[in-house]
Subunit: 202 residues, 2 copies
């Protein structure tokens, strides 16, 4: 029987996804659960929303930073909050991630890009984040090739297909965890998703 | 030193609040934490939103029922999902709750009203729910007095004041838990709120 598996759907513009990519590897290893990182373009195509999930000056945005801050402390992570939001270009960051998933360095790139955003304030998808994150995951020499490939029609279409699949799965936010047909939304449901992958219930 | 305390802010139109009112008493008792139920009018005055939090046909609404269903099973609760949504008149249900909080039967009424909604599909704030819930909490004889009092200027204004206080606290959804200056949003953060009330951190 195959090991239980979780598809982690996300966009690199999502703040809460920082918590997930920072802690999921150790959790999945400890639980014996396989994970697959699957970027989608942005939340907009899933929900039809034309606004960002968090708007400056709103109570919800204020809460989001405090909530993330509490969880950064709980999990012993490093972050300098609030980080610049929105990030420069989540779709571009996600296209580079797709290239990386095919070539094997994707998960390292996603973690490095989030670390740069949350520790140093260098937002995902921007030129500086892309170059530094690729260097951090051993792809400095391939940077120009990778950035060109990320803008190719094949990768643009692959991200569109993945985004369509996320919509078909009923996803509407990042991160979302899919275990068999079961969807869990939000980093604070990561433990639930792992439990479901192992035992088929909460 | 006073026992640690949690203010539970909510509107009786909120679906997730069913989970909270169904389980918080036992949890608070076990943890030695005092709780105070504080209804506000609706989410709209807090956020400026003119739409319901969940709209028919959306992925988010579909997810909400499944998410609640999983938690109903986890907590061993009873519910016949999905329940009719929106409920007939959450503001009216909240005004009756305010009367009850002053007279001592408020928490029992809130639980009874939610049980009627989630077990029998009789939505909060409607005539049938009001009468049955008041009867369930021993107020059958006072029903006419209570329903009239709930429409009085004093109670309307008190609910407005409480709603204003919820906005000042930075709340934007139901249920929200306030512990000292710390806000936790959502039934799935109830455990966090209790932990914070006891130890001042997650």
């Amino acid at each position: 029987m195959a090991a239980p598996a979780i598809d982690v759907w996300f966009t690199m513009g999502s703040t809460y996804t920082f918590l997930t990519v920072s802690r999921i590897d150790a959790m999945a290893r400890a639980a014996g659960v396989a994970i697959r990182l699957r970027p989608f373009r942005t939340v907009g195509p899933l929900t039809g929303a034309t606004q960002l999930p968090f708007l400056p000056g709103t109570a919800k945005m204020h809460y989001m930073w405090r909530d993330i801050g509490r969880r950064v402390a709980l999990h012993g992570l490093r972050a300098s909050l609030p980080v610049p939001y929105p990030a420069p270009s989540p779709p571009r960051a996600n296209r580079v991630a797709l290239v990386g998933m095919a070539e094997g360095w994707g998960p390292d790139y996603v973690r490095a890009a989030y670390r740069l955003w949350f520790e140093q304030g260098i937002g995902t998808g921007g030129e500086e984040n892309l170059r530094l994150a690729l260097a951090e995951c051993g792809q400095a020499d391939g940077t120009e090739r990778i950035l060109a490939l990320a803008e190719s029609e094949a990768i643009v279409q692959e991200l569109d297909r993945e985004t369509g699949e996320a919509r078909r799965l009923g996803l509407f936010g990042s991160p979302s965890f899919v275990v068999g047909g079961e969807v869990f939304w939000g980093d604070d449901h990561l433990e639930d998703a792992i439990r479901w992958a192992r035992q088929g219930r909460l």
